[in-house]
């Protein structure tokens, strides 16, 4: 009864199977405004490329009659919108992941919701995509929500998109309308650093230029959507990168075996290779690369392994094993790009749990918050970051951790923010740089549009770091003096005795806050002691660009 499968000789003989296994996988995310036709397009893609089973097609026909918006015809969006609430309202609420393969290639399609309410779900889906499939309805044009999606793609480092101008039937298959949208889109996306753009005019509910070529748009002679996707080579993550493995689990089955298990997220490791454990910085050498299928001599990014080290170094979950070249940064303060997803806004002074790779630290929000304006694509200083806003934020961590810039190593440069009370995931972010002065920062660069715009270059708003030590010292002393004076006056006014010192102390805390505020405002008028904007790159640089 315990049937072991037969050896795979028959299998290797099947040319079809071998061919299928060699296809490079493409993950793409469909995004754009609500109702512009994303789910319909993906459904059409699955249907026209014959990816559906007969029972699924039968069910689709039944569903189309019941919930569909297409009369007697099939409503392809119902193939994707699988939740009851989605079918009732004819909108997508959460991302759907679908897998399909053509003779050329394997695909993972991620159908994202367009509605602003569910932007967090769109970001979830987009974070694993190599390419963005952006839909714009020809009769709808570029909306705010579409712009938000593009900014999120840019935040995630997705630089290749295909623009599908949908519902061409609604505009009489007009080449002119298509070209206007294309031009506007290119202008907006290019400024965000999305530089590989391909545009295709389509109609998703009739399948024009989706799999088959459209008869109605003879003026378009580029590839159909599927033709394009089959050969697309997204520009992303092809660099080999330095060795990185975050420790997930310490494997100790017996006193004489201590292995560190993790997924290699970047680079390559070999037996005998010198490595360092971060954040402690201790050095060792890889003794063995252990797997269930036997020891390996080397292993590259994308493999889950267990390493043993030559020296008995102390390492635990959350630590990073890295090669000695291109070391990660060890920092307790990081400047990041953030997408905020919670109803309660992100505010300076608040604390969150920041989970980066396998390490979790408590992070407090520093005051230099800025939020991107979707229409102008400019960052502007802000007091808080509301739900669905995108911007930059500095986090101070309760202990140093090892990080990389997101642009260098995605997995050790991205994080989620967890509410410490509800444990909900409230934000996601990418490390832009650490906040300790290091020369390699000069490589730092945002797409021009991500830079903080300043009206008058000579009147840079002073940031925390623009104050000299003397100035801070002077402020501290003046504060001490006024504070003590305040204590004295308050004590004297209330009782003149020391008996009620306790109540005075409490009162003092409250009055101090108010007085300090007035004090700060007065200081803000004093130009003396302020540093000139330095030429050190970073946020300051973008301030002064």
């Amino acid at each position: 009864m315990n049937v072991r499968s037969q050896p795979s000789a028959a299998l290797t003989g099947a040319a079809l199977i071998t061919a299928q296994q060699e296809k490079p996988l493409l993950r793409f995310v469909a995004c754009g405004s609500v109702d512009h036709g994303k789910s319909t397009l993906i459904g059409c893609l699955l249907y026209d490329s014959k990816q559906l089973f007969d029972d699924q097609i039968d069910a689709l026909a039944v569903d189309s009659r019941k919930f569909g918006t297409q009369g007697e015809k099939l409503d392809f969006s119902l193939l994707l919108d699988g939740l009851a609430a989605e079918r009732e309202q004819n909108i997508t609420i959460d991302v759907a992941y679908r897998f399909f393969a053509t003779a050329q290639r394997k695909f993972i399609v991620i159908d994202a919701p367009g509605h602003e309410e569910y932007t967090a779900n769109m970001a979830t889906g987009a974070s694993v995509a190599d390419l963005g499939l952006v839909l714009v309805a020809a009769d709808g044009g570029l909306t705010r929500q579409l712009k938000r999606h593009l900014v999120i793609l840019s935040l995630l480092g997705i630089r290749s998109v295909v623009l599908a101008v949908n519902k061409m039937d609604r505009v009489g298959w007009s080449a002119e309308t298509y070209r206007t949208i294309e031009a506007e889109f290119r202008e907006f996306a290019t400024a965000l650093g999305i530089d590989a753009i391909v545009c295709i005019p389509i109609a998703a509910n009739s399948g024009d230029n989706v799999v088959g070529r459209s008869q109605s748009m003879p003026w378009y002679n580029g590839p159909t959507l599927l033709e394009y996707l089959e050969q697309a080579e997204p520009t992303r993550g092809s660099r080999p990168g330095p060795f990185r493995m975050s420790i997930q689990w310490v494997n100790r089955p017996s006193p004489d075996f201590r292995g560190y298990s993790g997924l290699i997220t970047s680079g390559k490791v070999q037996v005998g290779m010198p490595v360092k454990i971060y954040p402690s910085g201790r050095s060792s050498r890889v003794a063995r690369i252990v797997t269930f299928d036997g020891d390996l001599v080397d292993a590259a990014a994308g493999r889950s392994v267990t390493l043993t080290l030559a020296d008995p170094v102390d390492a635990s979950r959350g630590d990073l094993v890295a090669g000695i070249e291109q070391a990660p940064e060890i920092a307790d303060e990081i400047l990041t790009r953030v997408f905020w997803m919670s109803d309660a806004p992100l505010r300076p002074g608040q604390n969150y749990l920041l989970k980066l790779a396998t390490s979790t630290a408590t992070a407090s929000v520093e005051p230099n918050l800025s939020v991107i304006d979707l229409d102008t694509r400019q960052l502007a200083e802000a007091a808080s970051m509301a739900r669905n806003e995108i911007g930059t934020c500095t986090f101070k961590l309760d202990r140093p951790i090892a990080v990389d810039r997101y642009a260098d190593c995605k997995d050790t440069g991205s994080f989620i923010l967890i509410d410490p009370e509800t444990f909900d995931t409230v934000g996601m972010g990418c490390v832009e740089r650490t906040c300790a002065p290091r020369p390699r920062w000069w490589r730092w660069s945002w797409p021009a549009s991500w830079r903080l715009k300043r009206k008058n270059p000579d009147a840079a708003k002073p940031t925390r770091r623009s104050e000299t030590h003397f100035r801070s010292l002077a402020k501290a002393m003046s504060w001490r003096a006024t504070g003590s004076l305040d204590t004295f006056v308050v004590t004297f006014v209330i009782t003149g005795s020391t008996k009620l010192a306790g109540s005075v102390a409490v009162t003092e805390i409250m009055t101090k806050v108010l007085i300090y505020y007035c004090h700060e405002r007065i200081w803000a008028w004093v130009p003396w002691g302020k540093a000139r904007p330095t030429h050190s790159p970073g946020l300051q640089q973008s301030l002064g660009h």
């Binding site: 009864m1 315990n2 049937v3 499968s5 037969q6 795979s8 028959a10 299998l11 290797t12 099947a14 199977i17 296994q21 296809k23 089973f53 007969d54 029972d55 569903d63 019941k66 193939l79 994707l80 919108d81 699988g82 939740l83 009851a84 609430a85 079918r87 609420i93 959460d94 759907a96 679908r98 897998f99 993972i108 967090a120 970001a123 979830t124 694993v128 997930q248 689990w249 494997n251 089955p253 298990s261 993790g262 997924l263 252990v290 797997t291 269930f292 299928d293 493999r303 889950s304 997803m341 749990l353 980066l356 790779a357 396998t358 991205s414 989620i416 967890i418 444990f423 995931t425 996601m428």
Partner: protein
């Protein structure tokens, strides 16, 4: 002897040929990626859990999941027990296979049956598939998780199985009452999983989320994973119920007066309670033949599941109530 002819000679040596063939089978980077991703998920789940458990349903997906769990913690054994929700209506072969397999691997097995449901006489034949599934599977699972205080449960569900599954997170959060809220799922970007939960809340983790049915079969072939023989075609006694081929596994299935089961060569694409699981006619006796048939099939895997058909969006509703 030049390098080329040495190479040719080497090939005729049988061990080398075997190695060469093996490496062809192993050259599938797609399966390697899926495997590495699943192992990563399993380790994250266990590392973030106080009391993890693996839901073992004896089917092919569970078998792959168990295999991946062995790999994830090798050379240590997986640091969690297996939980099987036994409705008492599983195929006899499944139970026998389960006992042999867990014994072989030296793993702790918790088999849980809803005693209360059993006492009430709930069964798939007279109670109907809906009530049976609710009481003997969903409620039973909730009982077992509560009783043992498991906070993270690993399961073998895949996104390609069904439309509402395609929407589910890898770390799927459940309230203290085991409810799933599909409209308020936690965002889950990249491969950073949020395993935090308050007391009483739990998380179902699906390491096979991104696998397809075909990936599962190819991996079973590549890794030679043992499976219960019901997946392979054999002559079995069947009757037709609601258009489905039901294998008569024991004498609890009532037959119409004069009805005789017919012997047909059938196999299963998915396994559950025997009166609720339709077989397909097939001659595929090996994994390779199953892969060929799967490639050519015009029907999806879940078609044979009687329970999915209990009204539109039935899977979603069952999941909201705490079904796996």
């Amino acid at each position: 002897m030049d390098a080329h002819s040495r190479f040719i000679d080497g090939l005729e040596d049988s061990p080398t040929v075997a190695t060469a063939r093996e490496s062809i089978a192993r050259s599938s980077t797609h399966l390697e990626q899926l495997e590495a991703e699943s192992i990563h998920i399993i380790r994250e789940a266990v590392a973030e859990s106080d009391n993890p458990v693996l839901l073992y349903s004896i089917g092919k997906d569970s078998s792959v999941l168990l295999h991946l769990a062995l790999k994830a913690f090798y050379p240590a054994p997986p640091p969690f027990p297996l939980l099987h929700i036994d409705t008492t209506w599983k195929f006899r072969e499944m139970i026998a296979f389960r006992n042999v397999r867990t014994c072989e691997l030296g793993l702790r097995l918790i088999a849980h049956t809803n005693r209360d449901g059993l006492a009430r006489g709930i069964n798939p034949i007279t109670s109907g598939s809906k009530l049976h599934t609710d009481v003997m599977k969903t409620q039973a699972l909730r009982q077992a998780l509560d009783q043992h205080r498991f906070d993270i449960a690993l399961g073998g569900a895949r996104r390609d199985e069904e439309k509402s599954r395609a929407k589910e997170r890898v770390f799927s959060f459940r309230s203290a009452r085991h409810l799933w809220d599909p409209k308020r799922q936690r965002p889950e970007p990249w491969r950073i999983y949020n395993g935090r939960k308050r007391r009483g809340e739990s998380i179902r983790v699906f390491p096979l989320s991104n696998w397809t049915e075909l990936d599962i079969w190819r991996y079973i072939d590549q890794e030679q994973i043992p499976l219960v023989s019901l997946y392979f075609a054999a002559p079995r006694p069947v009757v037709v119920r609601d258009g489905e081929l039901i294998v008569v596994d024991d004498d609890r299935l009532p037959l119409a007066p004069g009805e005789l089961p017919v012997i047909k060569s059938v196999r299963f694409r998915t396994l559950g309670c025997y009166p609720l699981t339709g077989a397909i006619e097939s001659n595929a006796r090996t994994v390779a033949e199953i892969i060929q048939e799967t490639l050519a099939s015009r029907y999806s895997e879940r078609r044979g599941r009687v329970i999915d058909g209990d009204g539109a969006a039935s899977m979603e509703r069952k999941k909201q109530e705490g079904y796996f």
